[in-house]
């Protein structure tokens, strides 16, 4: 199972946030199949050597946001219905991600055209993996 989560201590980002982010990234990259259970709270905690409460909290947040759902007796799965952000929230998030991407690319010396080209390439690639809609 290609879901590898690794956490960093000593970061500005709290551990629980890192888990949330990495689960989301894994989902987006298509590394988790819809019918695949995620690792249990305990097994993930023992693998990462962190407090199970932290994992539980991360999963809880993901459930609240509709990213994951808990099926009784079988574990945690990707939610069939993914959504729930408000329009404003979605706009804020995309704006944040794009700002970060574009400023980094400019810093690296890419031109606007090159950036747009890279983005187009990536969108195509991920969409074909089932990441879109």
């Amino acid at each position: 199972m290609p879901l590898t989560i690794s956490i960093l201590t000593g970061s500005n980002v709290s551990i629980y946030q890192q888990i949330v982010d990495q689960v989301c990234a894994a989902i987006v990259a298509g590394r988790i199949a819809p019918d695949e259970p995620l690792p249990s709270v305990r097994s993930l905690a023992e693998e990462l050597l962190i407090n199970p409460n932290t994992v539980g909290k991360a999963y809880g947040e993901l459930v609240r946001e509709g990213v994951l759902e808990s099926r009784p007796g079988r574990g945690m799965f990707i939610s069939k219905r993914r959504q729930i952000y408000t329009r404003a929230e979605r706009a804020r998030r995309i704006d944040q991600a794009v700002t970060s991407l574009v400023s980094q690319a400019f810093m690296l010396g890419f031109t606007a055209e090159e950036i747009v080209e890279e983005v187009a390439k990536k969108t195509t690639e991920l969409a074909s993996n089932g990441g879109g809609s």
Binding site: T9, G10, S11, N12, S14, L49, N51
Partner: protein, 317 residues
């Protein structure tokens, strides 16, 4: 079952005229992994000894599992596991004999756990405890502490002096203990990485005074880092005004980095009066937050600044 496993009320201890612990009021919830943090000599070991009834408080009280610490009965002591900083053992006993000896005291002794921990640390049962390395001693000490399956584990700096492998084994054991939902761990440590991983509550003892007692999340959320940039001709002010909750401040070229606890809108306003070009705010890293709490408050760091450079730079640009 009580909600809290450890409670103190104004716990104070003097050694001669020196206050080792000053008016500590602390609550440890059941089932938590509670980190007890503070510098060396700030009173952590003294507090732990008072909690276990090994030392009498000068003033105030402490209770463990609902019972006053000075009146712990043998039955209560069977439910509390304690590992001291020095991993005390009887050096003339072998590993196996240590286990046998300890098992005679505890009605509930899980030999499998003892063997598992001993095996995990790769201890030869026939070695005398006195010949074990530091990490091995910690392992044996941990084995005899965990085997009675205590409801409350009190560990005083358990990872002191351990090599990375032993430290990892220790962490794994602690996470193993959390399998029991009502089992609590109260431990002190200087290894902030491990604390960040495994603790869900913390308390901070700053020179005998308790400055924080809260869940880990609250602590992280409470301490923010503000980066004030000064571009162009602007310079950071030479004197900082008094900022409530300021833990630490550092200047560098055109920048002022402030670690502030409990920042609110007033704080933001105050910062704007310092006229920076931009303010960035981010949660502080755990280590920075903690060191900020425990270090010398205010504007001080080790690296000496050459202020002439700053002035020249300012004048030039």
């Amino acid at each position: 079952m009580t909600e809290t496993v450890i409670e103190t009320r104004g716990l104070t201890r003097y050694f001669g005229n020196r206050k080792a612990v000053d008016g500590m009021t602390l609550v440890v919830p059941r089932g938590s992994v509670f980190a007890f943090l503070g510098r060396n000599g700030s009173g952590k070991t003294t507090t732990i000894r008072m909690l276990l009834g090994l030392l009498e408080p000068t003033r105030g009280s402490a209770s463990v599992l609902g019972v006053d610490s000075q009146r712990l009965s043998p039955e209560m002591r069977a439910r509390i596991g304690y590992m001291s900083e020095s991993h005390t053992l009887y050096n003339w006993l072998t590993v196996r004999q240590c286990g046998e000896y300890q098992s005679r005291f505890y009605p509930r002794w899980n030999e499998k756990i003892f063997q598992a921990v001993v095996g995990h640390f790769q201890l030869d049962p026939r070695t005398k405890a006195g010949s074990l390395s530091r990490g091995e001693r910690a392992g044996l000490s941990l084995a005899i502490t965990l085997a009675p399956e205590p409801e409350l584990l009190i560990l005083d700096d358990p990872a002191l002096g351990l090599d990375p492998v032993a430290r990892r084994s220790l962490l794994e054991s602690m996470i193993y203990v959390t399998r029991g939902a009502d089992r609590t761990i109260f431990f002190s440590s200087h290894l902030l990485e491990d604390v960040e991983r495994v603790a869900d509550h913390l308390a901070i003892l700053d020179r005998s005074v308790l400055r924080a007692c809260c869940p880990m999340e609250s602590f992280r959320a409470h301490v923010q880092q503000f980066l004030l940039r000064y571009a162009g001709n602007t310079v950071p002010p030479a004197q900082l005004p008094s900022i409530r909750g300021l833990l630490h401040a550092r200047r560098s070229m055109g920048e002022l980095r402030l670690t502030i606890a409990g920042a609110n809108s007033d704080t933001h306003q105050l910062l704007r009066t310092l006229a920076p070009t931009s303010i960035e705010e981010a949660p502080a890293r755990f280590e920075e937050a903690l060191v900020g709490y425990l270090g010398n408050r205010g504007e001080r760091g080790f690296f000496l600044e050459d202020t002439t450079l700053l002035e020249t730079a300012g004048a030039r640009s």
